[in-house]
């Protein structure tokens, strides 16, 4: 090669300079807004400017200097501080190109799919880059049509946490050049998988091959390192150069902290709150034992505590024992402190959350290994997700293990106040399968909502195409695969007094997307769904497990203001609910004597004064009555789909310690969940406007209350039916209509027999004609919903 580039010429420099001058106006996104003089923001606690003719009553007070939540950071209170709390929509779970399993699907950190990009996306400040089906990163409209690969959020959210997988942070740091450029380890097999070197985007446009290779890479990267009880090792590239890997891990973790700090609005405007967070990815035999870790503020652990730290014996020699087995381990005296309160001598057949919690507690809460943040102290909580893929069937234990003793039950309660009930990979509330006319410890037909056919991560969400061998009866699922059953088991343990009467599973509710595409807060049901996993579901209707991905949901907190301390306190006290993606607003209060006409009054004041909000424990019983609940819900203001009904779901324990559940419709009208099309305008795919109501409210008293029985009550709000995103996707991009099953099959068959272009369409839409009777189970029409945290009742001895 004799050619040498000419030095950059003066003309070129001038061109660059002129580019700047020319580009700036071109880059302007919107016309200039009128500027107006504005008084400076008031200092914290200051009174607002005196109103002209202000009323004396019903006035919102200015933010107090000492709000009712612990202050761990010095910052001005928010100008929209609301002492009676406001619903803030956010997310506790989202991945970017810094997660290994996103990166293997060509979700590319270096193309801007990063924590920074995700936070900007969530605030509506910009688009984010997704790979096209070939893996290439191309700005502009996708070549050949289909959903945008540079999507923009429909409505900004208020807060969020990027939770990239902490496992392989070190490898990611190496492969993504965060540990320095051009180091030889970048050519390791790990980086070849993570950076997609196995598959050249733009040169081998074959999504099926790419997807298969990515699934294989996922399995290789996950099985060997994220699962087993005593075989967890870091990947070879890290074992071979631990110093480099540790440095790389730190770089990634620091980058995530920086991105969160940049996105956090510390001004009184309080436009957006970010949380520093990550996901612990314990995946024993591909069972999902994942937990998100959310830190309260910018004082966080110096090093994430990962699945590798959950192994009973860390880093044995992987050449001496088979890597894909989980032998039992016995807790020895040497393990005692690390796995406390698991007793010495206990035989363990699964990873343990205890060392994970202990290490976080020690490093963070006790302050033994924390970063130098602005905040005063470190605090955290952990949120398990996807119990629906978390084991409990066959021989493998469920994500929610029995506690070992009373101390351990307390530990569960303290560390894990919340559970993620819904996300892209389906609902974990409960399971009812109309194909079997049966449920997993339930007969609640509304549990036939976004249920998956697969039982592990190996067969969900595109990792495996076709599920665990098709439809399996609900009885084959472990009952603790579903949160309602876990709650029932929790009150049973408390009732039996097994662990000092402690309920280890007293968890509130959040929902999220878990998207691995950086699209923080994106949930609408439309044909633009950006997918869950990069190239794996660039054609989301092509495979059985991909079409079962939903668009995910939102976590909602009732908090005084949009700041870290206020939101974190709401998460801790479980004053939270989740939605399946729409922005329903729900309030729930429990007490002992709310008036029957509470809905016509200021029931928020009544609720806080005389009762507890969602997530609380009913106050001590007064008198001889039954508990009363005020529950109100308002429809999503933008989408305007009316509400069909509000349900209170009660779980309780009888004297014989058997658990039971019942669903009460307390407002609105109950309807058949298997004839949703009847409530739909099939053309617009929206609910018929004459059905339902924009708001519902009820004061409900438990008609079957027995003061001797432990119980919980949570609320489910159901909207009127609308088309699922997959229906709109199939109509728009494939040209078949899932609402008309017979015609859909005929049209798909025609495509299969048609031109080459039509045959490809048929492949891309192969699952479009699925419904509640097929495998995969898919509802072409769905009822969006919200689930609140329960309110618990415990009899006083």
């Amino acid at each position: 090669m004799h050619w040498r580039p000419r030095p950059i010429s003066v003309a070129s420099c001038l061109a660059a300079a002129s580019l700047v001058v020319v580009a700036v106006p071109v880059l302007a996104r919107q016309p200039r807004s009128p500027a107006a003089p504005r008084p400076p923001a008031p200092p914290p606690g200051a009174q607002p400017a005196p109103p002209a003719p202000a009323p004396a009553a019903g006035k919102r007070s200015s933010p107090p200097a000492n709000p009712p939540f612990e202050l761990t950071e010095d910052r001005p209170r928010c100008s929209n501080y609301e002492p009676r709390r406001q619903a803030l929509f956010g997310t506790t779970h989202l991945h970017t190109g810094l997660s290994f399993d996103a990166s293997i699907r060509f979700v590319d950190y270096q193309s801007g799919n990063s924590p920074r990009g995700a936070y900007r996306f969530a605030q509506g400040k910009g688009t984010i880059q997704l790979p096209d089906p070939s893996g290439a990163q191309r700005p502009g409209p996708p070549i050949g049509g289909g959903p945008s690969r540079t999507p923009k959020i429909d409505r900004p959210i208020d807060w969020g946490a990027v939770t990239d997988h902490s496992e392989h942070f070190g490898v990611m740091g190496i492969c993504k050049d965060l540990a320095g450029k051009d180091i030889p380890e970048r050519l390791s097999m790990e980086c070849r998988m993570i950076n997609g070197f196995f598959y050249e985007p733009g040169r081998a446009v074959n999504p099926v091959l790419g997807s298969t290779l990515a699934a294989n890479a996922f399995t290789q990267l996950t099985i060997t390192s994220d699962g087993a009880i005593s075989h967890n090792t870091r990947l070879p590239v890290c074992e071979n150069n631990p110093a480099l890997c540790n440095r790389a891990e730190l770089e990634v973790w620091t980058e995530m902290q920086r991105a969160a700090e940049e996105a956090y609005d510390r001004t009184p405007d309080c436009k957006f709150t970010s949380f520093i967070a990550y996901e612990n990815t314990s995946t024993p035999l591909l069972n999902n034992w994942h937990r998100n870790v959310i830190f309260r503020n910018d004082r966080v652990v110096k090093r994430p505590v990962t699945a590798i730290d959950m192994a009973l014996h860390v880093n044995p020699d992987p050449t001496k024992l088979p890597i894909n087995t989980i032998p039992a381990g016995v807790v020895t005296k040497a393990d005692e402190k690390r796995v406390w309160p698991v007793p010495v001598g206990t035989t363990v057949r699964s990873p343990l959350p205890q060392p994970f919690w202990n290490k976080l507690d020690e490093d963070c809460t006790q302050g033994k290994n924390v970063t130098d943040g602005k905040a005063r102290r470190c605090d955290f909580l952990t949120i398990p997700h996807n119990s629906n893929l978390g084991g409990g069937s066959n021989l493998f234990p469920p994500l929610f293990l029995d506690p070992f003793n009373t101390e351990d039950a307390k530990r569960h309660q303290a560390m894990e106040p919340l559970v993620e009930i819904y996300q892209d990979k389906g609902s974990s509330e409960c399971r009812y399968d109309p194909r079997f006319l049966a449920g997993t410890d339930t007969v609640d037909e509304q549990c036939a909502f976004e249920i998956l056919d697969g039982k592990t991560l190996g067969s969900a969400s595109g990792v495996g195409a076709s599920g665990d061998g098709g439809a399996a009866p609900p009885s084959s699922w472990g009952e603790r695969a579903y949160v309602r059953n876990v709650w029932k088991d929790g009150i049973r343990m408390a009732a039996k007094g097994d662990f000092g009467g402690i309920n280890p599973f007293k968890m509130g509710v959040v929902a999220a997307t878990d998207s691995h595409t950086g699209v923080m807060g994106w949930t609408p049901e439309n044909e633009q769904w950006p997918g869950h996993l990069g190239i794996d579901d660039a054609y989301p209707m092509a495979s059985a497990s991909n079409i079962q991905n939903s668009t995910g949901g939102h976590s909602v907190v009732w908090a005084e203001e949009n700041s870290r301390d206020s939101i974190f306190a709401a998460l801790k006290r479980k004053e939270t609910y989740g939605t399946s993606g729409t922005r329903i607003i729900v309030r729930l209060f429990g007490g002992w004597g709310f008036p029957a006409d509470a809905c016509e009054k200021d029931f928020v004041e009544l609720g806080y004064r005389d009762g507890v909000p969602m997530g609380g424990d009913l106050p001590a019983r007064t008198g001889s009555g039954a508990p009363t609940f005020i529950v109100a819900a308002w429809r999503d203001d933008t989408l305007k789909t009316n509400l069909q009904q509000i349900q209170v779901i009660k779980g309780w324990v009888r004297k014989d310690k058997s658990t039971h559940e019942q669903v009460f419709t307390v407002a609105g009208t109950d309807a058949n969940p298997f004839n949703l099309e009847a409530a739909l305008d099939a053309k617009s795919c929206k609910a018929r406007p004459e059905l339902g109501a924009p708001r519902l409210c009820s004061t409900w008293k438990d008609p079957q209350f027995d003061p001797a029985q432990h119980a919980f009550y949570y609320v489910r709000v159901l909207e009127e039916p609308v088309c699922r995103y997959s229906t709109l996707w199939c109509r728009t991009w494939i040209g078949v209509d899932p609402l008309n099953h017979g015609q859909c099959k005929q049209d798909l068959a025609k495509l299969q027999a048609g031109t080459k272009e039509q045959q490809i369409k048929a492949q891309q839409g192969a699952m479009c004609c699925s419904d509640q009777t097929t495998t995969p189970f898919v509802q072409p029409v769905i009822q969006e919903r919200a689930w609140t945290s329960p309110i618990w009742y415990e009899p006083k001895p």
């Binding site: 202000a54 009323p55 406001q86 070549i143 050249e200 405007d269 928020v604 933008t638 708001r695 080459k756």
Partner: protein, 327 residues
């Protein structure tokens, strides 16, 4: 004129002529100057076009064909640029080259140093053919070009210009301070009619603000709200309510406005127009965005400039990947 026959003069003239000829011929734009040639392999283009057909079931349109070609040309130019700068000598590329040299070495058991192996690979031209090395090199070149901009601090006047041209992104939104009479949708079947009735009472009785607010139902939202943005109002009372209130004139009671709770009569006390913060408050954020934009634009410009230094030969489009009529 004996000096005209001087051999020294002849040699001198001949030399000058030769120098002029060479300079003219090989100088920039000279007829002997040959720009390096980049020939996009027909097989590669055919493969990409074929892949496109496989994926989409149709040939690429003209615009799509241009996109395919452009991506390929940019990659080739970046590869040549990286090689000219000696980027194949960086550690990662050499390690990979050494690795692939072993595959083709006749006697792989014979010890050679990684450096020697890498040299062998380069001699064999493997650095131009291996996809991984190509990607390392093109990525590195792309980043190097962008780094020229990213490593600098943007000039203050550029930051100011960018800030001025993108004020919408930084603008603090308009705010209003209101009082409202709420009519509770859980109490009244027809909240709009009730609101109209109350409005008539306020107007005919010329009620002052406290008296008007006393007509309201108990509400979940305080009757008097401090300065609030449209987004804040929307979060509290609903999108339609917020949009309607932001358009109200101050100093008078509104017609009934629907919210998620029912209907309201609204009195706007104060309005603050949208305002742009001082640049100092958002300077870091603006600087970073300026640099990112400039780096992107600089990369495009530099790629355009680098292209001119090559003779780029693009294969003809074969008929089987020609666009269909009307595409």
């Amino acid at each position: 004129m004996r000096w005209l026959r001087s051999p020294a003069l002849h040699m001198g003239v001949l030399g000058a002529l030769a120098f002029a000829a060479v300079t003219l011929a090989t100088g920039s734009g000279g007829w002997l100057h040959r720009r390096p040639r980049i020939e996009i392999a027909a097989s590669r283009i055919a493969q990409m076009a074929g892949d496109f057909v496989d994926a989409n079931g149709r040939p690429p349109s003209d615009a799509e064909w241009r996109q395919i070609l452009d991506a390929q040309i940019d990659d080739e130019v970046l590869l040549h640029y990286a090689l000219a700068l000696g980027m194949q000598d960086n550690t990662a590329a050499r390690a990979r080259l050494a690795q692939i040299a072993e595959f083709v070495e006749a006697n792989p058991h014979e010890a050679t140093s990684p450096d020697q192996s890498a040299q062998i690979a380069i001699k064999l031209g493997l650095h131009e053919g291996d996809l991984i090395v190509r990607r390392i090199l093109t990525d590195s070149a792309r980043r190097l070009i962008r780094a020229v901009v990213l490593l600098q601090r943007p000039r203050p006047e550029l930051v100011e210009q960018f800030f001025a041209a993108n004020t919408a992104e930084y603008t603090r939104p308009a705010e209003v301070r209101i009082s409202h009479v709420a009519i509770n949708g859980f109490k009244w079947r027809d909240t709009e009619a009730r609101a109209r009735e109350l409005l008539a009472r306020i107007r005919t009785g010329a009620l002052d603000l406290p008296a008007a607010l006393a007509l309201a139902d108990p509400s979940l939202v305080p009757a008097d709200l401090p300065l609030t943005t449209e987004r804040g109002l929307a979060a509290e009372l609903g999108d339609d309510f917020a949009a309607a209130v932001m358009a109200l004139p101050p100093g008078q009671w509104s017609e009934p406005i629907a919210s998620r709770y029912g209907h309201h009569l609204v009195f706007v006390h104060q309005r603050l127009a949208a305002a742009v913060p001082r640049l100092a408050e958002v300077r870091d954020q603006v600087e970073q965005q300026v640099l990112e934009k400039l780096a992107d634009d600089w990369l495009k410009l530099r790629l355009r400039e680098l292209r001119t230094e090559f003779e780029i030969v693009v294969p003809e489009r074969s008929p089987d990947v020609a666009p269909e009529v009307g595409s």
